[in-house]
Every structure is written in C-alpha cells, then in structure tokens.
Symmetry: C2
Subunit: 314 residues, 2 copies
C-alpha cells in the first residue's frame, strides 16, 4: 500500500548555501546533503527553506547536476519544482525525473490569488502531460501562508482520479492539523507529510508518511530517530524535546536561523549568506539563538567531520 | 520636472494571446500593440494582466524581440520584469534596456511574505547594480492584493536616495487612494501611475502621471482621451463613463473578460485562451458580458482594421 517507501520518514527542505555574488555554492550543499543522508534524513532540496524561488531554473538544474555528480542518492531526493510559469515547472520537473529523483514536490502556480480548483487542476495536468514520463511522482505542496494558493481536498481528489500514478502525496504546511488529518483519512495510500517536525508523531500515529520540515536541516538526528521509533514508549518525550527546539528556533526568522546554526557549528561564516529579499540574523540575534540552543544541549553530531572529509577529498 | 514624459498618460498592461499548446502568439500581440499605440495608449507588456508570471523569461525575451521586429516603438514600452529570483529579473530587465524600452515595471520578489524593507531594498539594489546600465528606468510595482508584498513609502524614499536616476516612478495597484496621494505628495517629480482607470482623473488632478490599467486593453480610446483632456470641463463626465464600463467588466474575472471582449470584436476565438491557473469565461458569462457592454454602447474603433491590415501585410 502506498508509494515510494524510500521517501517515507523525515526529509529536510535543504537550505542552499550561497557564495561569491550570491551564486549557489554546490560544494557546501553537497556536504550538507551528505550529513543529512548520514542521519537518515531525505532531501527535499529546492523547498521554501531552500530559497528555491529565489533561484532561476538554470541555477537549480546546475545544482541538481552537481548533487548527482557529488554522489548524492537521487532515490532519497524530492526536489521542489513548482513555479508560477508552466514552462519553468516542466523544465525543472523533467530534469529531476531524468536524473532519477524519487519524487518532486510541486507548488501550485502562486502569482495569481483566488484562482479556481479548475484552473489549478489544469495547471498540474498540463505539467504532467508535458513531462510525459511514467516515472514522475508528484508530492503536492500545500503551503497557504506563503504561496497563498491552496491545494484543497477536492483538487487532490480530482488529480488522484485523473493521474493515480503521478500524484502520490502531499506536504501539508498549512499548520492546521484537521486538514492534515483529513488528507490522511480521505485518501488511503496517499503519502501525507507534515510540514513541521512539531506534528511528526501525530502524523505518523494517524497513518501519515512523515514530515518535511525546516528544523531537520539542523535537528535531523533527533527527528529521524523519532520517525524510526515512533511506536516506542518514549516517543512522546522525544517529540516534546523536538518541539521545544523548534519553538526556540521559531523565535527567529527560520531560514536565517538555520543558516546561522549550521554556520556556527561549522565555524563557517559563508553559511550566513541569504538571497534578498531575505536577510541574515543580526550579530545579537545570532548570539541569542546560540545561547538558546546551547541551553537545550543542542548539537549537530558529525557535521564538521562530513565537511572536513569532503574538503580533504576535493 | 520628472522623467520620461513619453510614458506619461495611459498604458495598457497588454494581454497576451496564446496559440497552439498555449505558446505566446507574437503576431496577435503585435496587432494588439499596434491598435493600442494608434489610440495613444502606451504598452506595459508583461504585467499582471499579461499573464507575465505564467511565462518563462525566455518566452518573454522572445516576445519582446518579436515586438521590436514587428515595428513596435520601445519608447512607448514599459515591460514588467520583476520575478521572484534576482537572476530572472536581471536577465529580462537587461534585455529590455538593451532593446531600448523607455522603462520597466518591477514587482518586488513575491514568494516570501512578511519580508523587510531592508530585504526588498537589497533585492532592487542587487538588480540595479547587476544590470549596471544608466538607461535603466524603473517603475516600482505596488500591487499588494496579488503580490502580497508591498512597496512602502519608506522603501521608495530609500531607493530614491540611493538610485535617483534609476528609480523614476511607481504603479500603485493598492486600490487605496490615500496611498496613491501620499506617493504623489511625498516624492516630487516621481511618476505615479494609478493602477486602475477609475482613478485616472483624480490621479492627474493630484499631480500624478497617469494610469496603467487593465481596462485600457479594450477601452483605450476613451481612457487616453480623458488623459489628454483632463482639464476640460467634461472630464468628470468622461471619467464617470469610463468608471461605469470598468465596473461592469469588474463583475467578471478581469483577464478572461478582456480577452473575451477582444476576441468578440475581432471575431477571433483564438483570443479566448488563457494559461492555467486562469480559466476562460463560460459561454454564458461571455454572452452576458457582451450584452452588458452593448448596453453601454461600447466598441473598439479601428481594432479589426488593424488586425486585417497586418494579416494582409504578412
């Protein structure tokens, strides 16, 4: 029952490091992906937390190629490919499928607001027909607070009826548990991922597939361990600890906070860079965040070893 | 005082016709631009009403080239070039400047919500620095109901201070007159365009530059006449008639209604096509809209002649 079990569990919307002139830094991205995989965390590259929509399609294609060339397993990869323009979505999706990605996460076109389910159905349909590849596996990306365009239950129903092989799951970043639960109950076999690790245990208990969550960029070990042991007696305590950490990070703008945390643990200030319109944390914010995380005993085991191993190898 | 007087007055965010496989139809677009120019209406191609964000950068570059090759005056052109990703904005903006466009209309990056003025300043700044051309003239595009990311007065002030030659105006599609008025009063010489023809007279009376408005795609003759004669005694009556027509059209989804109206007057059903997520009017809606417009005595003088002249010429 269900699809693509290799993607079940925890995935990180992998943050994207930027180098000189804010160009994507493939080397550091490969390192970070290696660390995530070493923690049994899958790779939802090109998500919201990846600043994916701040990159051109060409930049994303080049990064994806660099990941493959860097030996990253595309079987654990679910790149975000949804853009406002169908030709852009088709180009990146086709490339991801050709490179063997196990799935793609697809935003609806998000420029126009108040659009109809009919229009969104046509958008996804057009993409599926144009990609025209039976290996295409789509995870719909429902994130109304950012995209402002929703993936409704009736839309999912219609897409599943028309494309039962291509439409395999959803990431629900609505923050509304009743919606996540309804997605799980309404569509048996459909892979429903919580949009935050704070809902991981609840999602798995209800029959969901896991979570795709910002916090996994830094807290992958604990979150992946919970996904693996969610039926154990101490799962609730583990969830509570995970939620506590996420709540602490949530006091800061999330993407800069993730990058600051990785940069601190690697002693690598290059990780602080963000593409506008996002801005880095102030020095004060970074110090406060670091102190907050230290108080919780937070660390990122193996992160530096991964980066140095790569630095030696290249 | 002020910049680029050739762009003052009325501009249409030119609707984009699509042909086979929803490819942009350059021939029909050239025809429509010719008609608009013949009515003294400037060309804000690639705006919201142009479905610009439903097209790739490559498609827009090709269309712009086709317009130039079709003899359309780039001195009357203000293409929309703002995208979510800075490299996309830079590519299209650079191309527009190279082709001689009198200005560009620039959305802020619109994927992330709740971003800071500092982040938006950096985004525009990055674009201006990368384009690096003194001929770049930017009209900021403030359309919070769609972009959900605002161009605030403090942001404009900061941009004007840093880039007084590149930042020349704004299109205010907030629908909030107090905001339009504040933009006009706060920044002398700054070219402020109303986002709807319903505010044209008020904008001109307050010292604004004109309007860039959906309705100009079909009602260009009346709107351009008002812009030319706004100080005449019958300007109020003309504004009232224009507002009446726009209100009537506003009962239907705007972009499909514009295309249906052009298609009807040309007896050319190809004009009905829209790219998902937008959908065309139903047959019933089209009939009702046509009847509504007929009741108002609406027509599009010269439209068919323009199209047939071109059909003969090519």
């Amino acid at each position: 029952m269900g699809h693509d079990s290799k993607l079940r569990g925890v995935l990180a919307p992998v943050v994207t490091p930027f180098g000189k002139n804010l160009a994507p830094d493939a080397g550091r991205l490969v390192d970070h992906c290696r660390w995530l995989l070493s923690q049994d965390c899958g790779l939802a590259v090109f998500g919201t937390n990846s600043e994916a929509n701040s990159m051109s399609v060409d930049e994303k294609i080049d990064l994806l190629d660099a990941l493959v060339e860097g030996g990253i397993d595309t079987g654990r990869m679910m790149p975000g490919t949804g853009a406002c323009a169908i030709p852009d979505t088709v180009r990146l999706t086709s490339h991801a499928v050709r490179r063997g990605c196990a799935g793609v996460m697809m935003l609806p076109p998000f420029y126009y607001k108040g659009v109809s389910d009919e229009g969104l159905f046509r958008a996804f349909s057009e993409v599926i027909e144009r990609v025209g590849d039976s290996k295409l596996k789509i995870y719909l990306y429902h994130i109304p607070p950012v995209a402002q365009v929703a993936i409704t239950l009736p839309l999912i129903e219609r897409l599943l009826a028309a494309y039962p092989d291509a439409i395999v799951g959803v990431k629900d970043s609505s923050g509304d548990w009743s919606n996540t639960e309804a997605m799980i109950r309404t569509f048996p076999g459909f892979l429903v991922f919580a949009g935050s690790e704070t809902g991981l245990l609840q999602t798995l208990q209800a029959g969901g597939a896991g979570c795709i969550s910002a916090g996994a960029n830094v807290n992958a070990p604990a979150i992946a361990a919970l996904a693996a042991n969610w039926q154990s007696p101490d799962a609730s305590a583990a969830q509570e600890k995970i939620t506590g950490l996420r709540t602490t990070m949530g006091r800061y703008p999330m993407i800069p906070a993730l990058k600051a945390t990785i940069g601190r643990h690697l002693e690598d200030p290059a990780w602080l860079a963000l593409r506008p319109p996002l801005v880095e944390l102030s020095r004060t914010q970074r110090d406060e965040l670091a102190a907050d995380l230290d108080k919780l005993g937070f660390n990122m085991p193996g992160l530096r070893q991964q980066a140095s191993a790569h630095a030696v190898a290249t």
